[in-house]
């Protein structure tokens, strides 16, 4: 790996024909993946991916180039490419020597990937496979995916600092397929964190597998979900896809600055119910979206985005922060050296409230109780969002009733968050890979148990008589 002190000359090279700002992002990534399917360990893969992305920013134009050649010569060649792309003009100066940045926290990695033998990791995958298959007699197929990412990054820029980080992320994900009488259903569970292989120590594989296997079987006898507008209670264990879609993306400053967000220009305004406080916090120990520095070398911090319904902050990259004249808040992230950093979420959550979670269902006469959310999507320009209900139940007279399947919930961000009327004191996380502009980054999302009095449930069971037959 290149000596960070040598990056100063690469930055000078990049700025030689003009530009306000130059940056070098050097990455050395090792991955290990194991996949068990059809009751046997089918894939074992290892990868070494290394490269550097060089960026020059001039006014509002960015030139970016990347290379897999990390020699001094290779980096200089990439710097030449961006220098040639930057139009002649004002030339920024590189502040030398580069000073090392300090992070606000240190991740605790109990076991490093290289210290755990491959056989032990294979054993985890095989245990999860067996546990899912024995969870229910109707489980027909199980796919277990184990992934480790060990990413070392060095980020230097012409503002005169250099940040170094090593991010180790581990994920265990499991998909169980159950079948009966020609009906196929699935159950998915995953755990992931800024952690080493110790993340799956103990009975983690068995617990995860049991949940996935049982859910797949339970969904076989679920009825079609209802359709139409109704109250929805989301359990904490359902995860945080709703907050991620309903307001997370819309609070990313690049979208807001371009007027592509329903939350644009609403700083200090009421955008949600008094009960709603939204936080994005990249410093949470072991959480999947955590890291010490963002991918522009800015120390990551906790950001309160919405406080008791009032919009307080947006998520910024260096470029959007400069445009707005605010301090960068550590949200400039990228998938790899092949990508330009843009404002992204890390661990996004609705903060817990004071309601007893059990009372929220009990106080709901009819509606849908969501216990597992899947993926989602949002149109930030108008705030319309959807998310998948991976497991749901009807609520009948304050009781959890029959399981239902095949529903998406559709709503509008400011409208839905504006009418949240119950917020529980619990909190549940899910992990995911968030996609934006073709880049995937590790995130987690969390919510307490909460109630939205009206969302559109997109099921297939339609009764023209209306909600009395939910």
């Amino acid at each position: 790996m290149i000596d960070p002190r040598d990056l100063g000359s690469v930055l000078e090279e990049a700025l030689k024909r003009g530009g306000d700002f130059a940056e070098a992002f050097v990455e050395h990534r090792r991955v290990q993946a194991l996949i068990c399917e059809a009751d046997r360990l089918e894939r074992a893969a290892t990868g070494l991916d290394q490269g550097a992305g060089i960026r020059v920013v001039q006014g509002e134009t960015s030139a970016y180039a990347f290379t897999n050649d990390l020699s001094a010569q290779g980096l200089k060649a990439a710097a030449d490419v961006v220098a040639a792309a930057a139009a002649a003009g004002h030339s920024g100066v590189v502040e030398l020597p580069l000073a090392a940045r300090q992070a606000s926290f240190a991740p605790e990695i109990r076991r490093l990937p290289e210290d755990v033998p491959l056989e032990e990791k294979a054993g985890v995958v095989e245990r999860a496979n067996r546990a899912a298959r024995s969870a229910d007699g109707q489980v027909r197929q199980v796919t277990v995916n184990y992934r480790e990412l060990d990413q070392e990054v060095t980020i230097a820029n012409s503002l005169g600092f250099v940040a170094e980080d090593r991010r180790i992320r581990t994920v265990l994900a499991l998909n169980a397929v159950a079948a009966k009488d020609g009906v196929i259903q699935t159950g998915y569970e995953s755990v992931g964190g800024l952690a080493g292989p110790d993340l799956v120590d103990g009975d983690v594989p068995e617990r995860l597998a049991g949940k996935a296997g049982k859910r797949a079987a339970r969904m076989l006898s679920a009825r079609p979900a209802p359709s139409g507008r109704m109250p929805v209670v989301m359990a904490a264990e359902a995860g945080g896809t709703m907050v991620h879609e309903a307001c997370g993306h819309g609070l990313e400053a690049d979208l807001a600055q371009k007027g592509l967000s329903v939350y644009a220009n609403r700083h200090g305004e009421k955008v949600a119910s008094d009960l709603v406080t939204v936080v994005d916090d990249g410093t949470l120990p072991q959480r999947y979206g955590s890291e010490r520095f963002d991918d522009e070398g800015v120390p990551v911090r906790k950001r309160v985005l919405i406080e008791r319904g009032i919009l307080k902050d947006y998520m910024h990259s260096l470029i959007t922060a400069r445009k707005e004249g605010v301090e960068p808040n550590g949200c400039g992230r990228r998938e790899s050296y092949r990508h330009v950093p843009i404002p992204r979420m890390s661990n996004t959550m609705i903060a817990p409230g004071s309601d007893d979670p059990g009372r929220i269902v009990a106080d709901t006469r009819r509606g849908l109780y969501v216990t597992k959310m899947g993926g989602g999507q949002v149109n930030t320009a108008n705030g319309d969002f959807v998310f998948e209900v991976a497991e749901g139940f009807l609520i009948e007279n304050g009781q959890v009733g029959a399981a239902v399947r095949g529903a998406t919930l559709t709503g509008n961000g400011p409208q839905a968050l504006g009418i949240v009327d119950r917020v529980g004191s619990d909190l549940g996380f899910t992990i995911g890979t968030c996609g934006k502009d073709g880049q995937g980054v590790a995130v987690s999302d969390a919510q307490p148990t909460l109630r939205i009095p009206e969302l559109i449930v997109g099921g297939t069971a339609h009764d023209p008589e209306g909600e009395e037959n939910l």
Binding site: L34, A85, L118, G228, V386, T410
Partner: protein, 456 residues
């Protein structure tokens, strides 16, 4: 005319591939395969008629698959030095030791592939200034379409060229090159507090194969026609799917048509060859030799020649897609259909469609729409990635135009459509003659039997 230059580029990859096989031999494996690719790309993103990002890159890497006593291991690297290749070979061999033995773990042998013309030398020769102008032209076309098109999220022109080589210890030694050009835009139209979005995309292997003005206008039209959209009451009506939406649904069938999913009991189509799985109007074809599609290539990523395959004929399921492994496992004379494909050198060859499309029908789009008494013409869907390809259950957000007496009555958004992919296929009532590709998937306008539209 640039054939010599192309040969030089792929010769170098074939040489490195040979070195990788030697490194694998030294690591003590029985069989090995190296897949190498070099990709150069340029992306120009503009907004408000100025360049926002100019992104240039060259990427080179190798993926090495090895077999030892019927066990398979894989490793990839971007370090092509002799030491880098040796370390990769050792990692692949160590991975092989961890996996289960499988008698069907095999490499394909040599079979000659007809070349395919995927190279347009003018793509590389075109000056960067002209590529920037192309990106700006997309944006101008969108804004010029209607004054209510107020914002452009991103207008992008992308092009590139690539070289691919596959070598294996069974004597396979294939290589090819290609060029690509694409245009995309996503816009917002605004009026009286209503903000709606529209997008469009075009791809070609040839520089003159995309119409940047069309891309800009189409995105603008999609956004403008939704202005003032609202949800409707929950109702069961006919659906009409725009070709781009129909192609998105078709792509969801890709995993179910894979022999790997069938063999593992994860496919809706398992055990149904010869049965009616779709409306008799439906023909589904996978064709890696179709140069209009982004998935065109003379061979798949195991070096097996690509061929056209009819997967569903007149609604009857004909067969599945295979790679070398699934064909061996199937036995009974099954052969790879040339569908062993990878996302990049970072992955193993898995069964995937190349260019998957639903063949055009004979009805005009206008006639197909005019026959709808009450229906929903869907122009955009949200949350397609949440559809479960194993169960086939789908429930997605949708926007488009409400149809009454064969005419567009009003714009609709914030509703959901739900059902099962198999029911959707069986419910196709009409197939229009306007087949269109979006990347590697293609479909015409489709009219479907009534399904539930969930709204107010």
């Amino acid at each position: 005319m640039k054939a010599t230059a192309v040969e030089v580029k792929t010769t170098e990859l074939l040489e490195v591939g040979g070195m990788a096989l030697e490194a694998a031999g030294a690591a003590g494996v029985d069989e090995a395969e190296a897949y190498l690719s070099r990709t150069r790309s340029l992306i120009v993103e503009v907004a408000d008629q100025r360049v926002e990002t100019l992104h240039q890159s060259t990427e080179l890497g190798v993926g090495l698959r090895v077999f030892r006593q019927g066990r398979m291991g894989f490793a990839f690297t971007t370090d092509l030095s002799p030491e880098g290749l040796a370390a990769t070979a050792r990692a692949a061999a160590a991975n092989a030791a961890a996996t289960a033995r499988d008698e069907f773990n095999r490499l394909p042998g040599v079979s000659p592939a007809e070349p395919l013309d995927l190279v347009d030398p003018t793509v590389r020769e075109r000056p960067t200034a002209s590529k920037i102008e192309a990106a700006m032209a997309i944006e101008r076309a969108a804004k010029g379409f209607d004054p209510r098109v107020t914002r452009v999220e991103k207008a992008a022109y992308t092009d590139g060229d690539y070289d691919v080589a596959v070598v294996n210890s069974q004597g396979v030694r294939v290589s090819y090159s290609g060029t690509s050009v694409s245009a995309s835009i996503s816009v917002v139209a605004e009026e009286k507090g209503s903000a709606e979005t529209g997008w469009s995309f075009a791809f070609s292997h040839r520089a003159d194969g995309i119409d940047v003005d069309f891309v800009g206008r189409e995105a603008a039209e999609k956004a403008v026609q939704l202005l003032g959209a609202r949800a409707v009451g929950t109702k069961r009506v006919n659906l009409v799917l725009d070709p781009l939406v129909a192609a998105e649904f078709l792509e969801l069938l890709g995993p179910a048509l894979s022999a790997d999913a069938v063999q593992k009991g994860k496919s809706l189509f398992a055990g149904r060859v010869g049965e009616e799985v779709a409306s008799p109007l439906i023909q589904v074809i996978d064709d890696g030799r179709l140069v209009e599609g982004a998935g065109a290539a003379p061979t798949d990523d195991e070096g097996v020649p690509t061929v056209p395959k009819v997967l569903i004929r007149d609604g009857i399921l004909q067969g599945y897609l295979h790679n070398t492994y699934t064909a061996a496992k199937e036995g009974a004379g099954a052969r790879s259909t040339g569908n062993g494909l990878r996302g990049s050198f970072r992955g193993t060859p898995e069964v995937r469609p190349s260019n998957l499309y639903l063949a055009a029908g004979t009805t005009s789009r206008e006639k197909l729409l005019s026959e709808v008494e009450e229906g929903f013409y869907v122009t955009s869907v949200m949350g397609m990635h949440t559809v479960n390809p194993i169960s086939g259950d789908f429930s997605v957000g949708a926007a488009g135009l409400w149809l009454e007496h064969g005419r567009f009555a009003r714009p609709v958004r914030g509703v959901a459509i739900a059902g099962n992919l198999l029911e959707l296929l069986k419910g196709v009532e009409a197939v229009a003659d306007d087949l269109r590709f979006i990347g590697s998937a293609g479909a015409p306008t489709l009219r479907l039997a009534p399904i539930t539209v969930s709204g107010e």
